[in-house]
Symmetry: C2
DNA sequence: GTGAAAGCGCTAACAT
DNA sequence: ATGTTAGCGCTTTCAC
């Protein structure tokens, strides 16, 4: 049905050996063939509509030119830019990205990583958390190249590309303190994610350093619903001794928006809210969200760069790359009255 | 380095032939092997950490269990739900989706489709426009299964899954007319997309039917910037004889928001605006956007279903599936003063 | 029920 | 510069 024309077909039509066709069509080996035959073979292969079979090639060369990309959920707006960043680096270099969604489910993730490995991916870019001893570390020990993006794996020496979350949280608190805020709530991201952990740790240490009241509320996931539920709980219990909410990410912050609104509180007049990530459309929210810009596209690019340099054996140390962030002040933060 | 353990290794360890191992490990052929040896082989293969090589299997069976998914841009929020929908149908059935982004560029698209075909995908789900005679139709003629999603290809008999855009536009106009609006602007999507064309045609015919003034403004792409520029142009020329903007999609509508704001006009007090798609976060915009919900996840599911039934030879006719839409009335539309 | 052998389409050693 | 040969890891006849 498909892909009828093979190297052998071209070879027969050209009256040469399949190997010669292979050499002619591969830029790296083309020089081994006489200019004339190369030209002839190219013409014939085009006329016949020859399409190389990368699967067969990969079986022989033991390279698939495919990179597995493991993310929690494509519908979380921070991931598409990361994926596009990865793509932008890989594609010009002949690689492709194979993306899978784990939904943060460890079991699903193990299955999907296996399926990527069975597909003989040349390496893995992973945006989900990991513990020692799981499938990923096993594969890594067997020589599979892995790079983390957006998250780090505690205790596991994978190269990683992250944003400077610590600096981001510091900038947020500095900004809020300058506006006169003294009592903070932090909607922390999941404790089992490196981002959630680092952001909340920085929150705590910064509050301490500045002698400011900061309460941390733990969340199971980075979702709108969790953020809303957390603030609902607070307000339903009559807790109002805070003037600013520092959210672990934009989604949690948006949940806070919703909760404040249903409780008749105005943002930023009554409560200032800050997000994290500067995901698409935060500027269009009501009110426009003050947040920290994390360079997701560039993080994807950098992760891909790191992975290929690992694969090519150029870079072998577990490099940690931290990309700078910047505070984007919009309408969800105001001077405390 | 990777994937050391092969069928042959397991066979040697078990003292049997590779073929027997293959039969034992494949559910479909397991019955051909004695229960006892099957059990023994499974144990050994597990102990050895055997991982099947799907690439080699695919070479032999001429099936990759991989579906190519061609979309314009993952960062357009309507596509992640479609992709997740596709995944949700494919994965339980042993297939995987390989997603590529074309950025609406025809040349890039041709390259990426070729690369998917070289990877021996078993079929294609395509969310970009196509003309007769291009690569896609060539492949289709050679027997490659193709299903369109979100768009149709004019004149090309691919099965297609779309939303009922016509009903959506009708509902919008009905809603606006009920609010007293009489002068409409339509920010049309690209004329080379079936959605853009269908929506604008319906807009024109509905205006005609109801005896209402409707001006169509053409746009090159479905983007915020295009929408903003289009309305900017209108307002900069002093055109204000309209009370409602019907946008081709939510992005164009959001662009209209921006333009109105920079021109000191309030939505919905001065101008009502309606989007299309009900993409994520439209409810959080300022003002919350009235739009038409298109069931993107379900469209993905349906497209995957259609494709697999084509591949399995169950369904062979070029079915057109149209999924129902619903008008979501929020804060961007109001009674005309 | 299991083994032997062939071959999917390609590339890489080794010839010539 | 080109041909020959072998084999990547798997499945599938065809034997027995």
């Amino acid at each position: 049905m498909r892909n009828r024309v093979t190297l052998a077909d071209v070879a027969k039509a050209a009256g040469v050996n399949a190997a010669t066709v292979s050499r002619s069509l591969n830029p790296a080996t083309e020089s081994q063939v006489s200019k004339e035959t190369a030209r002839k073979i190219k013409k014939i292969s085009k006329d016949l509509g020859y399409t190389p079979n990368t699967v067969a090639r990969g079986l022989r060369t033991r390279k698939s030119l495919t990179i597995g990309v493991v993310i929690p959920d494509l519908t979380n707006p921070i991931f598409p830019p990361i994926v596009r960043g990865i793509d932008s680096y890989l594609i010009p270099r002949g690689y492709s990205a194979f993306v899978v969604n784990t939904d943060g489910n460890h079991e699903i993730e193990q299955t999907l990583i296996s399926s990527l490995m069975e597909r003989q991916v040349d390496g893995l870019i992973v945006a989900t958390g990991h513990t020692e001893g799981d499938l990923l570390t096993q594969y890594h020990q067997r020589g599979v190249k892995v790079v983390m993006v957006n998250r780090e794996s505690p205790g596991i020496p994978f190269p990683a590309v992250t944003s400077d979350d610590s600096a981001g949280i510091s900038a947020i608190i500095e900004h809020l303190v300058a506006l006169g805020h003294k009592n903070f709530i932090h909607l922390a991201g999941p404790a089992d994610s490196s981002t959630g952990l680092l952001r909340s740790r920085t929150f705590v240490s910064e509050c301490k350093r500045l002698g400011i009241s900061g309460k941390v509320i733990k969340n199971e996931s980075y979702s709108i619903d969790e953020g809303q539920a957390a603030v609902d709980k607070l307000l339903d219990h009559g807790t109002r001794n805070f003037s600013a909410i520092v959210a672990g990410n934009d989604l949690l912050a948006l949940g806070a928006y919703h909760s404040l609104r249903t409780h008749g509180l105005k943002c930023p007049e009554d409560v200032s809210v800050v997000g994290f990530n500067n995901m698409p459309f935060t500027a269009d929210f009501q009110p426009p969200m003050t947040t920290v810009n994390a360079p997701h596209f560039d993080m994807g690019v950098e992760a891909a760069r790191l992975l290929l340099s690992q694969i090519d054996g150029i870079d072998t140390a577990p490099v940690k790359v931290t990309l700078p962030v910047s505070l984007i002040i919009r309408g969800s933060t105001a001077r405390v009255l």
